[in-house]
Structures are given as C-alpha cells and as structure tokens.
C-alpha cells in the first residue's frame, strides 16, 4: 500500500500531535508526519494549510511569523492550551476507536 487517504478529522489530529513537542511551520509539520509514519501516510501537502488555518480559527493553534534556523521567514504554528486539551481528547478517542476496530478484526479472524 503505497499511501492511504487521510480524513480531515484525522489530519487535524495528526497536526496537533505534530505540534506537541515544539512549534513548527507548515512544511515542517508535513515532513514530520511523512517521516514519522514511515512514508505510509501520504498527504496531499497543500491540504495541510486549510487544516492549519481552520485550527487557528478554532483557537487550537496560534500562529506567528518567525525565523527558521536557516534564517528564512516562516509562519510558525504553536499549540494553544485549548489545542493541547483537544489533542488529549482526540487522541484518547482515536485509540478507543482503533482498539475497537482491531478487536472486531481479530474476532473475525478466529
């Protein structure tokens, strides 16, 4: 499986997770997701930006222009307190969901 579609809700969860440790710019977030998933999750890279701006609007992220290590101007996104709370919730919900799906699949195999 060369890649799989990522649903909007899932993409937002991944974005929040990507920002848990440190603020990143859009490219950085995309790259982090790509590399952490071992290239399994292929996102249409442009799709990140609507998600980022939507999350900013909801107040889960805050954004500001800053300098990269290489001295370039980039827009950095940071988790807000609210975003951190939402990440925790969504993460829990995803795990439950995944566990349930796994359990069903396992049951079916026996």
């Amino acid at each position: 499986m060369a890649g799989s579609d990522v649903y909007t809700g899932t993409l937002e969860l991944l974005v929040l997770r990507a920002l848990r440790e440190e603020p990143l710019h859009g490219y950085g977030i995309g790259r982090w997701i790509r590399e952490t998933s071992g290239d399994v999750l292929q996102i249409e890279e442009g799709a990140l930006y609507p998600a980022l701006h939507r999350l900013e609007k909801k107040g889960h992220l805050s954004a500001r222009w800053g300098q990269t290590e290489l001295g370039r101007q980039a827009k950095f996104y940071r988790l807000t307190t609210r975003g951190r709370r939402v990440l925790k919730q969504e993460e829990g919900r995803w795990r439950e969901h995944a566990a349930a799906v796994t359990a069903i699949l396992d049951g079916g195999a026996q």
């Binding site: 859009g26 995309g30 799709a47 930006y49 609007k57 500001r64 370039r72 101007q73």
Partner: protein, 897 residues
C-alpha cells in the same frame, strides 16, 4: 524592504486583513522552497524538483482560495470581538467616571427617570385608548355609524327605525349591529347586584366574528319573533369573578330587573365591549327591552326616540369607509325627504372603528395629547439640563480628555466614549423610569379621565409596545443630552487643554450653554403658564355657584322595582324609606328624585308651552325629574318666584310643576311663567314656581331647561331613584346609618350606589384636577431644573474668571461691577427665554381652551404670574454665585492659584 517587512511581521498578529492574501502566498512560497530544497538534496535536478514540489502540493489555487476564505471568516469574528471589547472598555470608563461623580449621576438618573417614567405612563394610556383596536375579527373592516344631533354634535345616538333604515338601505355594509349600555339589577341568588348590561341586536356577535368561550353567543336567529327574547351572554370577566368560571351556569336562570333570563353562554376573554370604560357584565337582546321596561315599548318604533348608543357596521367586500360615508349621506338625504318631521336636518357620521373610544372622542384625545405634550416638554427640559451638566463636567475634565488625546486616542473614539456615558446614564434612568411607571400606573388606577373613564378600566399597562416606547425615549434622551457635549469634547483643542488654560477657550461650549439656558427658561415658562391656567380653572370651578348647597348632602340610589318587591308595594317604598331616614338623628331633611343635579343621566322629553310659538327648527326638549315634596328644600335650591311644592301637590288636584330659570327665560321671555301651562304628551301641568338654575349632567350651569314634577300626579319615581339626605355634619359618616335604615325597611331592596354630592362634584373635576396637579408638579420641577442650570452656569463662569475677578477687585472694582460682569453671561439668555416661552405658551394655549373654565388660554394674569416667578428664580440663581464672586477675598483667590 525586507528589513521593514520583518519589523512589521514581528508585530503582526494574523488579523491584518489587508495583507491576508499576501500572507497566504508567502506561506505557500516558503513551503515550495523548502520542498524543492529537500528534493534537490536527495539528488533530483532543480527543474524536476520544482515540478515535483508543485505536484505533491496539489491544486494550489484551490487551496489558497480555501485558506483565504477560512481566514476571512476568522477575522470577521475577531472584528466583532474587537468592537465588543472596545465598547466594554468604554462602558467601564463611563461607569468609572460616574462613580467619581455620584451626585451628578444621581441627579441625572433621577431627572431622567421622572421624565421618561411620566412619558411612559401617558403613552401607555395613549396606547390603550387611542391605538388599541377592539379584540374582534378584522377590526379594520368595521366602522361606527352615528346620527348627528341638532345641536351640531356629529356623533350622537340613533333611533331604532334609523338603525333599521341604515342597515337595510346600505350596500356598502354587509351587516350592521346596534348596541346600547344600561344599568340593570342582576340576581343570581343572594343579594341583587347592580351591573352593566349591553343591549345588542342578535347579529352583534356574528358581525364582530366572536366565538363563545363556553355555551353559545347570540346569533341572528335570536331575533326571530317567536324565539325567546329573555336570553343573555355573560362576559368572560364576570363569569370568572361572579361564577368562578363554572360551566353549569350555562342554561341556568339569572333574574335581570326581576325578570328570569336564560344564560346562553360566555363571550371570549379578550372581548369586553366596543366602548372603553363600559365593559358590560353581560349582553342581552335589544328587543328584550320590553321585558325590562314595559312602558317604553314604543321605543322600537319611534324615530324621534334616539336611545341607541352606537351602531357598528362591517364593510362589504371592496367597500371603503369613504364609500360607506358617501352612501350614508345619500340615505340620510332620502330619510330627510321621507320623514322631515323627525329627521329634520340630522345627518350621519361614519368613522373607521380604530379604537374603543366611541362617540365624541375629542375631549379624551386632546386631554391625552395635552398630557403627552406636557411630559414631552418636561423631558426636553430635563435633557437640556443634563446637557448643561455634561458640558460643565466635560469642561472640568478637559485635562483628562487632553491626556487621552495626547496618548493617541482617536477623536471619534472620544466622542463615542462620551455618548456611551450618556447612554449609561439614560439606561439607568430608563430602568428606574419603568419601575416608576409601573408604580404610578397602579397608584393612579382610580383617577378619572374625561368622560368618567377610570384609568384602571382602560387596560393600560406596560406591554411590549409601551416598553419599546420607553426604550426609544431613553435612547432619544441619551442622544438629545449627549451628542452636543460629546461633539464639543471631541473638538477639544489639544494644546489648549495641556496648557491648563483657564480663561480662554471653550467658547463653543459657553455659547451652547447660554442657548440651553434660554431653552430651559422658555420650556419652564410654558409649563408654568399651563399650570397657572389649570389652577385658575380649578379655582373657578370650585367657586362656581351651582345654585344649591352641595355640602352635607348624602346620596343613595335605590331601585324598588327590583329585589323581589311586589309591584303593588313598590309605590309605597319611597315614602316609607323617607319616613325612616328623616327620623334618623343628624338628618335635616330627605327627598327622592329620579335625577339629581350634576350627576349625568336625566330623563328627556318634548314639551309645548301655552303662549309660545316654537321656531321652525326649534326643539322644545327639556329634562325633567319626578321628585318628592322636600326635594328643593333638601338640596337648598331656592325657589325664586312662585312657590315650592306643597304636600297637596302629589294628590288628586291640578298637576303642578316647578320649572327652572333656564326654561322660564327661554319660553316665557317677557311673561311671568307662574300660572302658565306646560304640555307633555297628553298631560298638562300648571307652573307653580320657578327654581334657581343649576347644573344638570355636569358642572355647566343653566345649559338645559329643567322641570320638576311632583311625585304622585300619575307619575311616581318608580324606577331607580336617588335618596337625597341633608345632614347636619359630614354626610359620609351618615351613610352606614342610612344604609342600615333602608335595609331594615326593605331587606331585599337593591342599593345601587352610595356617596355624597361633594364626591360627585369632585369626580367631575378629576380631569382638571389631574391636569392642574401634573402641570404644577412638572412646572415646579421645570423651574427647579432651570434654576439649577442657571446657577451652574454662573458658578462655573465665576470659577473660571476667579483670578481675573480678584485682580479687578484688588484694583478697586466695585462689587456691583463684578456682579454685573458675572451675571452678563446668563441675563440675556434668560430674557430671550422668557420672551420665547411666553410667546410659545400663547401659541399653544388654544389647544387647552376646551379644558379651561372661567378663563381662556390668553388669561393675562397667568402669563404675568408665570413670567414673574421664573424671572425671580432665574435672577436669584444668577445673583447668589455672582455675589459670592464679588465677596471673594482677592488675596486668597490669587494665592489659591
């Protein structure tokens, strides 16, 4: 360029909407650059990397558009929050400012509460009386139809044949109903009660589109001759209060004036009749009149017997009120030709049925208009006073404003802050005003408006419309007193403020304040002139010689035809009650009469007088009362020629009458009426004497020819009549004993009403008293406000010129000179205000003429008194602070600076 960008971006939060598109572009460009480098680093050639980067990104145009849309929504929300937080800040600032000057805030809120509250109360009356249509189906398709009187009143009652002709000949009305109010005695077991009934034609409810709340209402079939006329429909209110909403009452029997009636059903709750202040307890058929009052059976046939109070028609499809009016005039012309004797010059008036005020509406409408006018003036005055106070405050707060300006706050923002402060004050005033209005409405529920309508009967209250009015008035007031000071504050010159200049500047504010003083003086003068006109009216009314002695007279209305008294015995009821009451200690004399002076409701009839030839269009209509022998003596109404009644007059001898002065001078202009003959229908009477003229059906003396017929003589006061008792002292205290005496003589006798003659007169004066009281109260408030305003302006001007004045005093200026210099600021606006106020009052006075008595709206003394009072207050308010300036110790004043 880049440097500058960086600087800007460092400060930038993402809400700079102008650069929004640019922002997204930059972000995506950065992404492409980074992606390309990554691909190149992994060994791709630059051109290929550039293509690949764009490919994995996806449809850039679509993504960019989507992001921009998201951002646009976000920034709208941010804009709203931004405005809200600015407003919250303004409100906080305003509240802080008001907390710092609690006296100003209290005065401002109190004056506004009075002004807005008063206006709200009067508007609630206007809403209930003028603007509220009756609760019937499509009231806009209904019209009232009146027959004109010969006296020229366009809206008078109609006769039953008139009604039938109007209804049958009209094509513009699909149907027409008649109604007339009546006091009757109802007996549903227990003590008989006197209640209001409305006699209506059977189509009344169907024409109005009213559905029963229980049982059934009257329907057109009820007018079929064979059907039972003794049926009635209860009003919802009475059904609930008297019968507790019990459904078993439907079909039961209710005795009306002793006659058994069947209760058909209950009217809908929202409907309480078409006439304001005449909410009936039940409706019955017009034709059941015969049952109630047999000797008036010809009333349904006689065209000259105009006893039907009102007619209501429903317009046919496509017809207009104008069209119906034109058609009615044609019908009136036809009737005049067919029946010239009884129609004469009468015409027909057709009005849209827009409110529940029937008949001659002028008095109550103009009374309300006058009240609303007075209160609007007061509110205007309160606003101008507040504007003045705000200006003074703004001037003392100039340094504060200057600092804010210097810190870069926009002038528009400054103006807005001032307006917000005004709105805070006004809102507080509005809230207090609403509470005040509620309390006032409850307090004045018993106060009578013209035509005896009590305020509580109008259904006036603080409903949504009235509250909206209060809210709009509040905002209007805030703008009125807030915008000028706000604009002037916004124009504050920065440099001037920071230099703390005391003597110069603020000339715009000073001019506005002078103008406001002039305005206040003129408004106060108008209110004062009005107050003194109404006080004069009250005095004249109280001074008027009614011809009889109204003190120490108790009145009790009884009806011996009711309450299970045998008709045979009814004739002896009066004499026995009189005998019993006359024997009570403290009673000088007692008499009975169908009518009494002042109180409305006499009997009318047409007469002929021997030796007098009536003019072609003259109606020889009089009012009369059947009275017992001591009637004139008990009222202390003097007999000016001839003799009073004698005990023999009630007997079998020649029937005699006593006529009043008005009748004597009208039809015996140059003869002695004593000994003359008056014919009423078949009966003839000899005139025994002439009584002093008095007032009938109101307080206007000598407007109606009146005749007293002695009881006996084939006529007895058999219906409801009034027992008149002259007492030695306070008649109110005698009422229980009188009631007790009547109860002991005839336990079942219906007692309709108990009171005193003085109370009767007082209730008729209620509208004038209300107006006099209101105008005096608001006039005094106005004078006080104007005084405070003037005092404030002069004090301020003294404070501002303190240094200057002390130098003058030190240099030897005289006290008078100083006073004159200070007073100059206010004397000319006061003078101008007086002139404008007196002229304005003269201009407005014609609108109150109809409420005045014994003087007209141009009564010079009223103007003089108002002018003098105001001038004295204004000059005192100027002189006090000016004198303080003149007595200042110059050394102290200089040192203080």
């Amino acid at each position: 360029m880049k440097k500058q960008n960086r600087f800007r971006r460092g400060f930038r939060i993402t809400d700079h909407s102008g650069d929004r598109a640019r922002d997204v572009e930059d972000e995506i460009a950065f992404h492409h650059a980074m992606r390309e480098r990554e691909l190149i680093d992994s060994g791709m050639d630059p051109a290929e990397a550039r293509r690949k980067a764009r490919e994995v990104f996806g449809d850039e145009a679509r993504i960019r558009a989507e992001v921009e849309r998201i951002d646009a929504r976000a920034s709208l929300r941010q804009r709203v929050t931004q405005h809200a937080s600015a407003l919250a800040q303004d409100i906080r600032l305003g509240l802080r400012g008001l907390r710092r000057s609690p006296l100003f805030a209290a005065v401002a809120v109190a004056t506004l509460a009075l002004g807005i509250g008063g206006n709200t109360v009067v508007f609630s009356l206007v809403e209930a009386i003028v603007m509220r249509a009756p609760a019937v189906e499509s009231p806009d398709r209904l019209a009232s139809i009146w027959t004109t009187c010969r006296r020229g009143d366009p809206r008078c009652s109609s006769s039953h044949p008139d009604y039938e002709d109007y209804r049958d000949r009209s094509t513009r009305f699909s149907d027409m109903a008649a109604y007339t109010g009546r006091r009757v005695t109802a007996d549903a077991g227990g003590e008989p009660e006197v209640v209001g009934a409305e006699l209506v034609t059977a189509n009344y409810f169907s024409l109005l589109g009213l559905e029963p709340a229980a049982g059934r209402v009257l329907q057109p079939q009820d007018d079929v001759p064979d059907s039972d006329p003794a049926v009635l429909v209860l009003s919802n209110a009475w059904w609930k209060t008297r019968f507790g909403g019990d459904r078993t009452v439907i079909g039961s029997t209710l005795r009306v004036n002793g006659i058994p009636y069947t209760v058909l059903g209950v009217a809908p709750a929202e409907f309480d009749g078409l006439v304001l202040g005449q909410a009936p307890e039940f409706w019955m058929l017009l034709r059941s009149l015969r049952l109630l009052d047999e000797d008036r059976g010809e009333m349904l046939q006689s065209r000259s017997s105009r006893w039907i109070q009102g007619l209501v028609g429903r317009l046919a499809a496509g017809a207009t009120v104008e069209g119906a009016r034109a058609e009615m005039l044609r019908i009136s012309d036809q009737l005049a030709v067919e029946d010239p004797d009884s129609r004469g010059t009468r015409s027909i008036t057709v009005d849209a049925l827009s409110s529940r005020v029937g008949g001659s509406e002028a008095s109550i409408f103009s009374f309300l208009a006058m009240l609303q006018g007075v209160l609007a003036l007061t509110l205007l005055l309160a606003c101008s006073n507040l504007a003045n106070l705000m200006l003074a405050r703004a001037t003392t707060r100039r340094s504060e404003l200057g600092v804010r300006l210097a810190l870069g706050i926009g002038r528009a923002r400054l103006v807005r802050q001032q307006l917000v402060e005004s709105l805070i004050i006004a809102s507080a005033g509005g809230v207090v005003a609403t509470v005040l209005a509620l309390a006032l409405l409850r307090l004045i529920g018993g106060v009578a408006l013209p035509r005896g309508i009590e305020i509580s009967a109008t259904g006036a209250g603080l409903n949504a419309g009235v509250l909206l009015f209060a809210a709009l008035t509040t905002v209007g007031a805030a703008v009125l007193f807030g915008w000028l000071p706000a604009l002037i504050a916004g124009r504050t010159p920065l440099g001037l403020v920071l230099r703390q200049q005391r003597t110069g500047g603020g000339s715009a504010a000073a001019r506005v304040r002078s103008a406001l003083i002039g305005l206040q003086v003129s408004l106060a003068v108008v209110l004062l002139v009005g107050a003194s006109l109404f006080i004069g009216t009250m005095r004249n009314r109280l001074d008027v010689d009614l011809g009889f002695d109204a003190h120490n007279v108790a009145l009790v209305v009884v009806d011996p035809t009711l309450g299970g008294i045998d008709p045979e015995a009814a004739a002896t009821v009066g004499p026995r009650i009189l005998e019993r009451i006359s024997g009570l200690p403290g009673v000088r004399s007692a008499a009975l009469g169908r009518s009494i002076p002042v109180r409305p409701g006499g009997n009318g009839t047409f007469v002929e007088v021997d030796g007098y030839q009536a003019a072609p269009d003259e109606e020889m209509r009089i009012e009369y009362s059947v009275v017992t022998g001591d009637y004139l003596k008990t009222l202390a109404l003097p007999v000016i020629s001839g003799r009073d009644f004698e005990p023999a007059d009630g007997g079998a001898g020649e029937p005699v009458v006593i006529i009043d002065e008005t009748m004597a001078t009208r039809w015996w202009p140059d003869r002695d009426p004593v000994g003359g003959t008056v014919h009423v229908g078949e009966s003839s009477f000899r005139v025994a004497g002439v009584a002093r003229r008095t007032a009938w059906g109101g307080l206007d003396v000598g407007t109606t020819p009146f005749m007293f017929i002695a009881a006996g003589q084939g006529r007895s006061p058999d219906g409801p009549y009034t027992v008149i008792v002259r007492t030695d002292s306070n008649p109110t205290r005698m009422l229980p004993a009188i009631r007790q005496a009547i109860r002991e003589t005839y336990p079942g006798l219906a007692i309709r009403q108990m009171g005193t003659m003085q109370a009767e007169i007082d209730s008729l004066l209620a509208p004038q008293r209300t107006a006099a009281w209101l105008l005096s109260a608001f006039g005094l408030l106005a004078v006080t406000l104007a005084g405070i305003g003037i005092w404030g302006v002069v004090s301020y001007s003294v404070a501002r010129q303190r240094r200057d004045l002390s130098i003058r005093i030190a240099l030897g200026a005289t006290r008078t000179g100083v006073v004159r210099r200070v007073a100059r600021t206010t004397l000319s606006p006061i003078a101008v205000g007086l002139v404008f106020g007196l002229t304005g009052a003269r201009f407005l006075s014609s609108s109150v003429d109809s409420f005045l008595f014994g003087l007209t709206g141009t009564h010079p003394l009223s103007y003089f008194a108002a002018g003098i009072l105001l001038a004295v207050v204004a000059v005192t308010a100027t002189w006090l602070p000016a004198r303080r300036a003149a007595t200042t110790n110059p050394v102290e004043a200089m040192r203080a600076d």
